[in-house]
Amino acid sequence: MSSELIGVWIGAFLTLGIFSFLYKDNPFYKFSEALFVGVSAGYWFVVTFWQYFLPKLIDNLVLAYTVLTSQGRVDYHWVYLLGGGLGVLMLLRLFPTVGWLSRWSLAFIVGTTAGLQFTRYLESNGIKQVQGTILPLIVGGSLNTTVGNIVIVVGTFCGLIYFFFSKEHKGAFGGAARVGVWFLMITFGALFGYTVMSRMSLLIGRMDYLFQIWLGLY
């Protein structure tokens, strides 16, 4: 038996293990699930080690050290020690007495995400989308585009009205907000349909694996 074939059998065994949950919770499923939890933790451990920890931290420190020993000067790359230090603080959460120190590293993470997202969201999801909504409402010669443009402008406009919080939804304003909700619901319907599509595709993929790759039925 080739290692590839053994691999396919292992994969099929684990696939059936997870699927067995559909009948009822059982030791076979519990085994597969526990293995999944362990293996996925290990997977991320390995990936973060080689792809973040090593290149971003160790490599920079090694560089700083090489400069220090070969040229005898303190290089800018030593600042990575600070980043590494903040990282180590994160691990202190495991120890109740000093666990509060991990808030420092979390504060750094929160600050970076907040700062990055502030400008990024405002630009790409705010300004760019507003620009995209500035469309002519009447396009000569194309009824489809005309209707489409009107739908986009009205839908975006009313949808935004719905998200207005400092004015009561009454009268014309309330009417617009209600139209906005309809647009949101149609959007959710579309998302719903696409999510179902996606999940079914994954199931098809697994079934195909069992029937074709494992059993070779067709």
């Binding site: 699930e33 999944f36 939890v37 996925s40 959460r93 991990s102 979390l106 993470i109 929160v110 995400t113 502030f118 400008t119 405002l122 630009e123 705010g126 300004i127 507003v130 620009q131 995209g132 909504t133 500035i134 469309l135 002519p136 409402l137 009447i138 396009v139 000569g140 402008v153 975006t156 406009f157 935004l160 009205i161 998200f163 207005f164 919080f165 400092s166 004015k167 009561e168 939804h169 949101l184 619901m185 959007t187 959710f188 319907g189 998302l191 719903f192 999510t195």
Partner: protein, 396 residues
């Protein structure tokens, strides 16, 4: 003639021709025609809006690129520190290209550039560009709109927060689903069953978790007042710590510190599906009267909502994850949609800072709505009556 044109075409398309290293002393092939016309009008300029270190070079294509003899296989960009000095090859560009950016320059140093058109039959150089140097720009003007908008929204938020702190009542509209919080908690008390509060599966660095935890504060307060049983199973250790603080404070404020204990908030597992499966089991066993799903959810949303629905719980959900919202809307009694989640936390806590920032957000929306309205009006009038009003999509 036809055959030679074919050969030229093949040579031009062949990857080998394009990859031949730059040579000035002709090519290995027998010359079968004149060298291409040189590129013209070479302009070198500092790359705008950066910290320097980049010069952009543009040129007009050779008369034999795409038209004429149509035999140009690429361009080579040459650089020198002196106009009549020795020019060095610094990079190439594909046929049809008219742009190259040199990121190997020092600020405030003058450079000259030439562009050479290359064909199988030789090459020809353009005249040198005028001197160009890169320099530091202290402000990125291409982001001026973004900057102004950020500033306006930030200032508005400050203004409204200070107003709210000063005791001004800021109006916030009714949010469907929030009234239901009282009913849900009351029902749990009547039925003598538990309330579960799930603050999503992400850590405290998610804005949605933070909003969810703020809502938890209010729910806990109500639970303390009604003497309902509240449980908060979480999937992150720091979320657990934060939730404990929040729930404890709520019980204290409700005058029921005795009713609080740390076991109300507990950690299950970090693993997404492990957490979902554990909650599934809890819901089935405890048959809670009410379930709150407030925070950042992923694929597990569906499993949670369906199970809670099947045991007959009142469900009040809220998330800003568009792809999970449909499941909540379809399977839960009330759902806070996107921005409503953030608004709800302000609404419930009556915290002036939250209320003020919500007002600031609304101002941002107002600006966006105004721009859309005026922009659409202008562009429609332009196309209808042929006016020449500014296109806001380009300016904004």
């Amino acid at each position: 003639m036809a055959i030679s044109a074919l050969i030229i075409l093949i040579l031009a398309a062949s990857p080998l021709a394009a990859q031949e290293p730059p040579t000035t002393e002709g090519v290995a092939l027998e010359p079968q025609g004149p060298p291409p016309a040189p590129p013209t009008n070479v302009v070198a300029k500092d790359n705008p809006n950066d910290k320097g270190g980049i010069i952009n070079i543009t040129w007009e294509r050779s008369a034999d690129d795409g038209v004429g003899a149509n035999d140009v296989t690429g361009y080579e960009i040459l650089k020198s520190k002196e106009k009549d000095g020795v020019y060095e090859y610094i990079g190439g560009a594909a046929p049809g290209a008219t742009f190259f950016s040199d990121s190997n320059v020092r600020n405030k140093v003058n450079y000259f550039y030439k562009v050479r058109a290359v064909s199988p039959f030789g090459s020809s150089e353009s005249l040198p560009s005028v001197a160009a140097s890169s320099r530091v720009q202290w402000f990125n003007f291409s982001r001026l709109t973004l900057f102004l908008l950020s500033a306006i929204i930030a200032l508005a938020i400050f203004y409204f927060i200070s107003k709210a702190k000063g005791g001004r009542q800021l109006y916030i509209r009714r949010i469907a689903g929030l009234e239901a919080v009282d009913d849900a908690v009351g029902r749990a008390t009547e039925m003598g069953r538990k309330i579960f509060f799930i603050p999503g599966i992400m850590d405290m660095d998610s804005m949605q978790t933070i909003a969810g935890v703020t809502i938890l504060g209010r729910v806990a307060r109500l639970a303390a007042e009604y003497e309902a049983k509240l449980e908060v199973p979480v999937s992150r250790s720091l979320v657990m710590v934060t939730c404990r603080e929040v729930v404890k404070e709520a019980y204290l404020n409700a005058g029921r510190p005795d009713a609080y204990n740390d076991n109300m908030v507990y950690y299950l597992t970090d693993d997404q599906f492990g957490y979902a499966a554990a909650l599934d089991g809890l819901f089935l066993r405890e048959r809670p009267a009410a379930v709150f799903l407030q925070g950042q959810f992923y694929a597990e949303s569906l499993i949670l909502a369906e199970t809670a629905n099947s045991v007959g719980s009142i469900q009040i959900a809220g998330t800003a994850m568009p792809s999970q919202l449909p499941f909540f809307v379809a399977a839960c009694d009330y759902t806070l949609i996107g921005e409503e989640l953030f608004a709800a936390s302000a609404y419930l806590s009556k915290d002036p800072k939250l209320l003020g920032s919500l007002k600031g957000q609304d101002l941002g929306k107002f600006i966006f709505l105004l721009v859309i309205l005026v922009g659409v009006l202008f562009i429609t009038l332009n196309s209808l009556v042929g006016l020449n009003l500014p296109n806001l999509a380009k300016i904004f």
